[in-house]
């Protein structure tokens, strides 16, 4: 079974802090994704990566950056957290072997910025 793990289920930070969200997958997948989930808005793609050290902006990259130094790990960074970044953050991975691949999701990190 594919397993995608996220470093924290719940996180509380203060405005202006630098925040790191970590995601690890154990299936040697090529692609990894970061989404945020907000009520009434569904999931919106922040960034994705199709290879080590490669990244592409999603639909809402402002205020975020990412890092992929190893294939299994994809980090989301909030350089200076703001209250409007309070949200549920979901990481996903997919094999990258063909279009239409299934994405496998982690359990999510609920981030509150005070």
């Amino acid at each position: 079974d594919v397993k995608v793990t996220q470093s924290s289920r719940y996180l509380v930070k203060r405005t202006g802090e630098k925040v790191f969200l970590e995601c690890v997958q154990d299936m040697d997948h090529e692609n990894m994704f970061w989404y945020r989930q907000d009520p009434g808005l569904g999931l919106r793609l922040i960034y994705f990566s199709y290879d080590v050290k490669m990244k592409e902006k999603g639909d809402i990259p402002e205020g975020y950056s990412v890092s992929r130094e190893k294939k299994e790990r994809f980090s989301l960074i909030l350089e200076s957290a703001s209250t409007n970044q309070t949200s549920m953050y979901l990481c996903a991975s997919s094999p990258g072997t063909s279009l239409g691949d299934t994405q496998y999701f982690g359990p999510g990190t609920r981030l509150t910025v005070l």
Partner: protein, 114 residues
Amino acid sequence: AQSVTQLDSQVPVFEEAPVELRCNYSSSVSVYLFWYVQYPNQGLQLLLKYLSGSTLVKGINGFEAEFNKSQTSFHLRKPSVHISDTAEYFCAASSNFGNEKLTFGTGTRLTIIP
């Protein structure tokens, strides 16, 4: 560009009754279509997907969906729901060329009434 519309944000259904969750998409190119389910306090998992071939797709837990190109729809159905089907359901689309970026609908919360 593509978009996915789930018109029903909440659907209450009595236990053992049938249910249909609606999804419409718009895209200038051919798409792949997905339904994901999110149980309380969990990440998303794939219910089913349409890539090509038969327009009726069967998924896990007794769910099925029908791809209708002329109606640009991909509605999800189950003939008899159970309490355990209480969850949020997301329709998603990706194009059949380029990258694997998914566009999600805003979700439908299915509540089963005993």
